[in-house]
């Protein structure tokens, strides 16, 4: 059967992560849910990194997804988590399809800075729109699950299981994509665009696919994050938020999908401890950590897994 190893790993990952809901304390379950939701956004950046570009503005879709869910929930009374996720994903897909082709001819610093600029435009716009909360943002009620409306610990558990399921499905799909023909063409394009064009493939199309997948994942991540937090504000699109996503992607590297979520969890753990003990030096720590990763671990966490595999065989 095609992709059997991916399916098996996905099922094991789901069981293990879902089992966490039985043992994890409330704070840890919340932290994991947030980390996994942000990990989805970072997975999108990793997909673009495989094609040789890094988006410094992925907060655009994280924020857009979160606001879409909140506005739909508050204006139309939709509370079903599946429906909210679908609607946000659709909106981010549409926006991604507009910007993807525009950005697809840019590389390197141009791509990085243009994507950053786009996210900062959204940040600025939302901050000034007082009728949707301005810089204070908006609150969103607890989600329901196909009519079931849990509260307290069951709500947390349900939300956690939901994000685990989405992460496992998205992770498996991205793994299949990375290993596919199109996935290999992405790697080839990062290496030598001229070669790929002269083989008859469109580099711009490949870039657009990766961008659009990143938009989708960003929107879904934002939707889950806002439902877990119960609140969204323009900071979701701020450069610091996007910067953390880039950080996770660099820490993870592009070789391994699980590494992305491990990196996201590490970041959330480090953040909550440094908030506790060094509240004003979080960015300082992040910056130093980033430099260390760039120098000491250029392939990211994923390269550790791959390296140990190679030494095994």
């Amino acid at each position: 059967m095609m992709h059997l190893p991916v399916y098996v790993s996905a099922i094991i990952a789901f069981v293990l992560l879902a089992a966490g809901s039985l043992v994890l304390p409330d704070w840890a379950m919340f932290l994991f849910a947030m980390a996994l939701a942000k990990g989805l956004v970072c997975l999108g950046i990793v997909g673009m990194m495989r094609g040789g570009v890094v988006s410094f503005g992925q907060g655009l879709y994280y924020c857009l997804g979160a606001y879409t869910a909140t506005l739909v929930a508050n204006s139309f009374g939709v509370s079903d988590i599946f429906l909210l996720t679908l609607i946000s994903a659709a909106v981010c897909l549409a926006v991604g399809l507009v910007f993807g082709p525009l950005l697809s001819s840019y590389r390197g610093i141009f791509f990085a800075m243009l994507s950053l600029a786009l996210s900062m435009v959204l940040y600025g716009t939302l901050s000034k729109m007082s009728f949707i909360g301005g810089t204070d943002g908006l609150n969103i009620g607890a989600p329901t699950f196909l009519g079931w409306a849990p509260e307290g610990r069951p709500l947390q558990t349900a939300l956690y299981i939901y994000v685990v399921a989405i992460v496992v499905i998205a992770g498996a799909l991205m793994r299949i994509y990375f290993d596919s023909e199109q996935g290999l063409i992405t790697l080839a394009m990062r290496d030598n665009e001229l070669r790929v064009e002269y083989l008859g493939a469109s580099v711009r199309h490949v870039m657009t696919y990766n961008y659009v997948f990143g938009a989708l994942l960003g929107g879904i991540g934002g939707t889950i994050a806002v439902l877990a937090l119960g609140h969204v504000d323009p900071e979701f699109a701020f450069w610091t938020t996007s910067g953390e996503f880039v950080f996770v992607a660099i820490l993870a590297g592009y070789l391994s999908v699980p590494a992305v979520f491990v990196a996201a969890i590490i970041l959330e753990l480090v953040r909550s401890f440094s908030n506790l003990y060094f509240p004003n030096t979080w960015q300082l720590a992040l910056g130093i950590f980033l430099l260390i990763v760039i120098v000491a671990l250029p392939g990211g966490l994923g390269s550790l897994i791959k390296r140990s595999k190679e030494t095994d065989t």
Partner: protein
């Protein structure tokens, strides 16, 4: 006019004040092997670049299979069946030889490149290795590009271009960067492999021994123009060609 597979008529191209192509007209029949000679800057590579879409001619017609392809994008021209190799082999350095070939196979497969089908699929690998074998480089399949010799790189470059339904192959200096004793073996291998599939070949070459040995017809370029278009012996004994291209009787 005769109806060759590739008909180039009155093509002009200038870069600012420099004329890179002036009244270029050529007819290449199906299955022929043509070579292009000329000093650096004479317009050979410009010709290759115009036919393969890297450069858009200012005017003129490039007819291929009843369609004017002048000004089409490289990937559109490639899709029609005109492929090329490069002076400096264009390969993906972070991938292995086999993976490079798999990229070519994925793009040229009978179906569009898939988001689901694994690139390292068994049948895809078999096809890739078969092509590598045809060019005698299958033994290098697990090596990364920077480890390869110049000759192997050139062969892989050509092999990748041959993954599709190639009708015309333009080779831009296939033996440059290749060790002297490898030149003839490589040309033997390439020309035989291409001829076996009925591919029309146009190659740019500086070595007149290779030109006389492998080409059926020679186009001599000078100053953006074609100054001779004939059989190799005729062209090489042409006094103009001797003066401007070869620098004396061969």
């Amino acid at each position: 006019m005769s109806t060759g597979l590739l008909e180039v008529r009155d093509v002009q191209k200038s870069f600012g004040a420099v004329t890179a192509a002036k009244d270029i007209s050529v007819s290449v029949p199906k299955g022929a092997v043509y070579s292009l000679i000329g000093t650096n800057g004479a317009g050979k590579t410009t010709f290759v670049n115009m036919v393969t879409g890297y450069i858009k001619p200012d005017s003129g017609v490039i007819n291929f299979g009843g369609q004017n392809i002048a000004g089409l994008a490289p990937r559109q021209i490639t899709r029609l069946g005109i492929h090329r190799s490069f002076q400096i082999a264009q390969l993906c350095n972070e991938l292995t030889v086999e993976e490079n070939m798999l990229v070519a196979g994925a793009i040229h497969g009978t179906t569009k490149p898939s988001f689901l089908r694994p690139a390292h699929d068994k049948s895809a690998r078999e096809r890739a290795i078969a092509t590598l074998e045809r060019f005698n480089i299958a033994e290098h399949r697990n090596r990364l590009i920077p480890e390869l010799s110049g000759g192997v790189k050139k062969l892989l470059d050509i092999a990748m271009a041959m993954a599709g339904e190639t009708q015309i192959m333009l080779l831009d200096e296939p033996t440059s960067g290749v060790a002297a004793d490898e030149k003839f073996p490589i040309m033997d291998l390439v020309i035989n492999a291409l001829k076996a599939e009925g591919v029309t070949v146009i190659f740019v070459e500086h070595d007149m021994d290779i030109v006389t040995r492998y080409s059926e017809r020679v186009l001599a370029f000078y100053d953006g123009q074609i100054i001779a278009d004939d059989a190799p012996d005729e062209v090489l004994s042409d006094p103009e060609v001797q003066r401007y291209v070869t620098g004396g009787p061969a």
